[in-house]
């Protein structure tokens, strides 16, 4: 992945830089919005990270300008501000995702991967499949190895999300946001409980385990 980071706080930049380096991806780091917009327009990046509180300009305004210039590279916004108005403002300006500081690097990385590998076709496809698993969005029927699986509505939604991000790490927070629509973090193991029930139905009766846990990060749909 080629990543652009627009962040004036050097500690955060170092934190992100180290993590990205360990994963083997390329990071370009600039410290203000103007530089950021310049780099965004000349470089070919897979995904961009914008901090909100930048010198001279709000990151959101820079994002808006980029979108108006038809630069469609996916953008994730980082901020310490956590209230809804800011979240909405970010998404309205054209950002694709929003992460509140402090965050675990694995959370950021999982989201970067999800944004970079986004294929529009997959979003609209009527039928999603992975290995011998298929999910039909119209009929809401899920089968594995031609056997119909009986899933609860939430379990179905979790599986659908995993199928839309094959081979990508999906974090607990991503699931809470997309499957439950929560902007808060419930204390209990809501995600874990549903995940284990899902795996009982999807993986347990079959030979190959498709839903894997990545310790410290989340879950991944993988057949490797």
């Amino acid at each position: 992945m080629k990543i652009l980071l627009v962040e004036d706080d050097l500690d955060t930049a170092e934190f992100i830089g180290r993590g990205v380096q360990q994963q083997g991806d390329a990071l370009t780091h600039v410290t203000d919005a103007k530089q950021g917009m310049l780099q965004a327009s000349i470089g070919e990046f897979d995904v961009m990270i914008f901090d909100r509180l930048l010198p001279h300009m709000d990151g959101i305004d820079a994002i808006r300008i980029l979108r108006e210039s038809h630069i469609e590279t996916p953008i994730i916004v980082l901020t310490a501000l956590a209230d809804t108005a800011d979240r909405v403002a970010g998404l309205d300006a054209g950002a694709d995702d929003y992460l509140v500081k402090p965050f675990a690097f694995s959370e950021l990385y999982a989201r970067l991967k999800a944004l970079a590998r986004r294929s529009p076709l997959k979003q609209e496809a009527l039928e999603l499949s992975f290995a011998d698993l298929t999910l039909n969005r119209a009929t809401q029927v899920v089968t594995r190895a031609h056997t119909v699986l009986d899933l609860m509505p939430r379990e179905y939604k979790i599986l659908e999300f995993l199928l839309r991000h094959p081979h990508q790490i999906v974090t607990k927070t991503m699931l809470l946001e997309h499957v439950w629509g929560f902007s808060f973090d419930p204390k209990t193991s809501l995600v874990q409980t549903h995940m284990s029930r899902l795996r009982n139905k999807v993986d347990k009766p079959f030979d190959i385990e498709l839903i894997k846990t990545v310790r410290g990060s989340g879950y991944v749909l993988s057949d490797k």
């Binding site: 108005a85 509505p153 629509g181 929560f182």
Partner: protein
């Protein structure tokens, strides 16, 4: 807070009262003028009418009884021989004087009028005793051979009426100004008194904002309403102040304690720097403490966000039944795994106006509290039903409940059942629940006399959606 005494307030209604009074007076004056003009012209007409009536009367009597009878009846004759100048006084005395002429124009009966005979109504002007008088005359044919000339004074109603009117208007104007002044004085005194009392009291409250309030009487006038509003505002400010104080206490415990733990861990890490396993353990513990602090901060920010009321703008119509059923279904496996029973009883089709994210958080918080604090294998339930004008959501468990001495404080920030603060959590969960209720105009209360912790939430709903 500044301690300067404000200058006394001088508010005056003078210009308004005077303006209103003069306006009213002008309207009356104009009406009076119009009325007088009409009265005067009709009076003039009336006077002419009298002559016409006399003529008609004379004609009738002459036709019936003849000239002699007529002359007998009309015995008001002025003989100018006595007093040639006395025409006007005679006219004043007799009201009407007449003269009868024959076909040749010779005077044959009645007074000798100082006018030549003229047919029909005529107006003459005469001077007598340095005064000008107006005389009306009417000439008409009594028969083929006889003509009659009538004379009458036209009373100068006009100038009399107008002079009376002018007098009345001047008197009225003076009275109006006098009354205005009086009314102004009275109102000013009352208003300024109330205003100054208010200002003095407010000055006093600035010194002791927590205890004193403005006094209200039973008048229920605008000043009392103002005093009530100000008192309410002072109550709100006092509550905010209390919140801030509570916050400091909470922050001291809930933030400083884990921060101290992190500091301790860092010291321990220095000591155990060569022991990989111990180092890992310290880092994990430190990480936990930091997570707790971040969660507390996030919750505080969330609480502020909710209490600021900004989120009310994003309210949408939502299916409350669906939301609650969905969430309860999501938690059912979690409760089952913990050995507890979750009973769900939701009536369908309840709609309301609100924020689905916040309402979800409310239900999650209450369910998670039930999960954490209820007895092992307890029964927990979620019920939604219609109730008087709204909906009633009840989330409860059957034990052990909240001790009665703690019940009043349970919604306060940083209040924790476990005073040693050993268990995880930061005492903000129920504060958030209460704030979400208030934002949605809903009322929450913890039921007393129950085995466990049972919460009732009354929500206003959209009927018939």
């Amino acid at each position: 807070m500044s301690s300067q005494t404000n200058k006394p307030i001088h508010f005056s209604v003078a210009r308004y009262v005077l303006l209103a009074a003069l306006l009213g007076f002008s309207l009356i004056a104009i009406s009076a003028l119009v009325f007088s003009t009409l009265a005067i012209s009709s009076a003039n007409n009336a006077q002419q009418e009298v002559l016409y009536e006399t003529r008609d009367e004379a004609l009738a009597i002459f036709e019936e009884d003849g000239l002699d009878e007529l002359l007998t009846l009309y015995d008001n004759v002025w003989d100018d021989a006595d007093d040639p100048q006395g025409f006007i006084p005679a006219l004043e005395a007799h009201h009407i004087l007449y003269a009868v002429y024959n076909a040749q124009g010779e005077h044959i009966a009645g007074s000798r009028l100082p006018f030549d005979y003229q047919q029909a109504m005529h107006v003459h002007s005469m001077t007598y005793d340095e005064e000008t008088f107006t005389v009306l005359t009417l000439g008409f044919e009594l028969s083929d051979t006889l003509t009659v000339h009538l004379a009458r004074l036209q009373y100068d109603e006009a100038s009399e009426v107008l002079s009376h009117l002018l007098f009345a208007l001047i008197l009225g104007l003076l009275t109006t100004v006098l009354i205005s002044a009086l009314v102004t004085l009275l109102i000013n005194r009352q208003v300024n008194q109330r205003l100054n009392t208010l200002t003095q009291q407010l000055d006093g409250i600035a010194q002791k904002p927590d205890s004193s309030r403005l006094s209200t009487s039973n008048h229920t006038d605008s000043f009392d309403q103002l005093a009530c509003t100000i008192n309410q505002m002072l109550d709100d400010i006092a509550a905010l102040n209390r919140n801030m104080q509570v916050m400091s206490v909470g922050i001291a415990h809930d933030l400083k304690t884990p921060l101290s733990r992190v500091a301790n861990r860092l010291q321990l890490m220095l000591q155990d720097i060569d022991d990989r396993a111990m180092l890992n353990q310290h880092i994990e513990r430190a990480d936990e403490s930091l997570r707790a602090i971040i969660t507390t901060f996030n919750n505080l920010i969330r609480l502020n966000d909710i209490e600021s009321g900004k989120r009310k703008q994003g309210f949408k119509a939502l299916d409350l039944s669906l939301l609650i059923q969905d969430l309860a279904d999501s938690y059912e496996p979690v409760f089952a795994d913990s050995g507890r029973q979750l009973e769900i009883s939701v009536v369908e089709g309840v709609h309301c106006l609100g924020d689905s994210d916040l309402l979800s958080q409310l239900i999650c918080n209450l369910l998670e509290n039930a999960l954490e604090y209820s007895n092992a294998q307890a029964n927990v339930w979620v019920r939604l039903q219609y109730h008087t004008t709204g909906a009633l959501l009840q989330i409860g468990d059957n034990g052990p409940g909240i001790p009665s001495e703690a019940q009043a404080q349970v919604f306060e920030r940083f209040y924790r059942g476990d005073t040693s603060r050993g268990k995880p959590g930061n005492g903000l969960g129920l504060s958030i629940v209460k704030a979400i209720c208030e934002l949605h105009d809903a009322h929450i209360n913890l039921l007393t006399q129950q085995q466990g912790a049972v919460f009732n939430i009354e929500l206003p709903i959209n009927q018939g959606k």
